[in-house]
Amino acid sequence: SQTLEDEAGSLTSGETSLEPKPLPRDQPLDGENSPSLLPPLLKVLVDRHLPGAPRLHPDSRALRYMKRLYKAYTTKEGIPKSDRSHLYNTVRLFTPNAQHPQPSWSQVTGGLQSMDLLFNLDRITAPEHLLKSVLLYSLKNSVSFSSTTKCMCYLIVKESECSSPSYFRSPQPFTISLQFEFRKNHKWIEIDVTTLLQPLVASKKRNIHIAVNFTCLEDQQNPVQDELLDMAILMAPSLLVYLNDTSAQAYHRWNSLRYKRRHQMSPDQRDLFLYPMEEELTQSRKFSRHRR
């Protein structure tokens, strides 16, 4: 009988034949090239053949944020809560590339501060479609701003050809300015960059360069001191992307919603809802009958 690894092997090599083909034992499954459509449990069997696949450690604050997100979205058993209506079934958090010198706040012009960030989004797979994306800043809760502090943030998002910042291809950069407030005991600031990122991710660009400029004013006129800003914003932001994984093994909420509705609707409504084509066909058939 076929072992799970062989099954994984045939899955990864894309063979669709059903009869089991024992894989040559000496040839390790190439987990790296396996399409990431394998569910993670199967993927680990594929990776098992790789010599201790190295795994970079994520940033602890980012991990803490994602654990909170997991708790908010699921029941104790890990089942997605059914009361959520949005369509994303995948959320990925990326931290800026380490090899890129740790971005630092640099005084640019009066009160302007800028940060250069490089993100590699290779983990986003082809079936995953971007629905929303935010830059996530973690705040030191020791620093608090007055409620009248408002910030303007200028973003430039470009596709970078390779990892070092000096060779950015100069497609027209997407720039956007956003306004947001530092709220009391908010540990995180989210800056929505969906409109900037969408075209790049949709065109399969996976190395993204984001330049962020901040300027903050208190009571609409006095610029916030740089030191305060420096202290408050703890570290380079993470990039959070909300995706709809359209592959077969991903959970599609609207399918289960449709399933539930189908069982709640009256028969005629149900047909209309589920088979609008059917409705049109019957209409056109009636029409043609009249004509005849």
């Binding site: 569910p39 993670p40 449990l41 680990v44 696949a53 190295p54 795994r55 970079l56 450690h57 994520p58 980012a62 991990l63 994602m66 654990k67 997100l69 997991y70 979205y73 699921t74 058993e77 890990g78 089942i79 997605p80 079934n89 995948t90 959320v91 990925r92 958090l93 990326f94 931290t95 590699n120 290779d122 983990r123 994984d245 077969a248 093994q249 991903a250 959970y251 599609h252 909420r253």
Partner: protein
């Protein structure tokens, strides 16, 4: 009722424990019939907890047991299942009896650390069996 009929007729043997529900249970649910069973595993047992951050424990459940001959009323099985059972019993016992398999599933959310250090929250379909059937 000892006043009428043959006094020697035995009244049905009442269970010593007088626990009626147990007594009747043997008629309603024969032993080891097809049903859902738990199997709680933790990813640390599989040494996968270095990349699966949540959930810590996972109960995929499984279906096990003998398929009764009359499966329609309880398992919603197609008529084919009864036909297969009759073939097995009357014509050719090399034909397998109907099997006890999952009929419905629920999804599972998994929080993982990817090889590049990014973190992924993903919801997967059909990860926990929630109902069994005979097919």
């Amino acid at each position: 009722d000892e006043r009428t009929g043959d006094p020697k007729a035995k009244s049905p043997k009442m269970p010593v424990s007088n626990n009626l529900s147990e007594y009747f249970k043997q008629f309603l649910f024969p032993e080891n019939e097809c049903e859902l069973h738990d199997f709680k595993l933790s990813f640390s047992q599989l040494k996968w907890d270095n990349w699966i951050v949540a959930p810590h424990r996972y109960n995929p459940r499984y279906c096990k047991g003998v398929c009764p001959r009359l499966v329609r009323h309880r398992y919603g099985s197609p008529v084919h299942t009864m036909v297969q059972n009759i073939i097995y019993e009357k014509l050719d016992s090399s034909i397998p009896r109907p099997s006890c398999v999952p009929a419905k599933y629920s999804p599972l959310s998994v929080l993982t650390i990817e090889p590049d250090g990014s973190i992924a929250y993903k919801e997967y379909e059909d990860m926990i069996a929630t109902k069994c059937t005979c097919r």
